[in-house]
Amino acid sequence: MIVSFEDPQLGDASDELEGLGHDFACEVLLYLQRVHSKAVDHRTLLPFDTYQGVEMFHCSMGKNKFAIFAVEIDDMGDLKVTLMLAGQHGVPMQAGTSSWDGVSYSSLKAGILNARAAVWFV
């Protein structure tokens, strides 16, 4: 299944992706479908971040727009792909009490992404 992160405090990844434009959104969605169907083997991708064993990946288009998605595997080998976040380099983000300056990926991982992962993967 392909889903998107949503939380009353921490925001909605689907809205974030749509806000970056439909062309970019379509590219990301097509890629998520390929990961979900295993046409793209996520094990050959470099994880952007890992939260307690759950791998998250970064995809981008051009210099600025990016999306982060997580991949989980269940006991039957089926994948669940979650769109965790979508943003734009140079554009700060705020989600709950966490924020991102729009520049440092380290602070994005430690801040918003970690906060979202903590409420999502339990």
């Binding site: 998107s4 379509c26 094990r43 989980e72």
Partner: protein
Amino acid sequence: MGKLKVEASNERRSTTSAKIGSKGRGRPIADLVEKIERADPRLASAAGLSSAAMRAGDLVRAMRKDAGLSQSQLADKLGVTQARVSEVEAGIGSQGPTWDLMERISVACGKTLGVAASSDELQLAAHMPMAE
């Protein structure tokens, strides 16, 4: 496709499953595709995205899981490849599975497929067989 960049790993990792998980959380991504379809129908179609195909895929996956079948086992019952089942479940393509295929899948999963019509939309639903 091809505009998107994703960094590749140096080597293929082994499969690992985390002890934690998102369980049933998450809004179906078909909701976003539906918004794009309404705002820009030609873009979604040209890109090969269909919210209906994705929702049908989610239904197939739910029926298969409920029946305790793997994708390969369902594929064997249908006489198709596992890759085809995987494509259907991912909602790949702008057309989605045919009604014939959906009926065959539901039968293979021990379900009965039905369509419920309301004033402004059609809803596809799978039902458990009626108790005898």
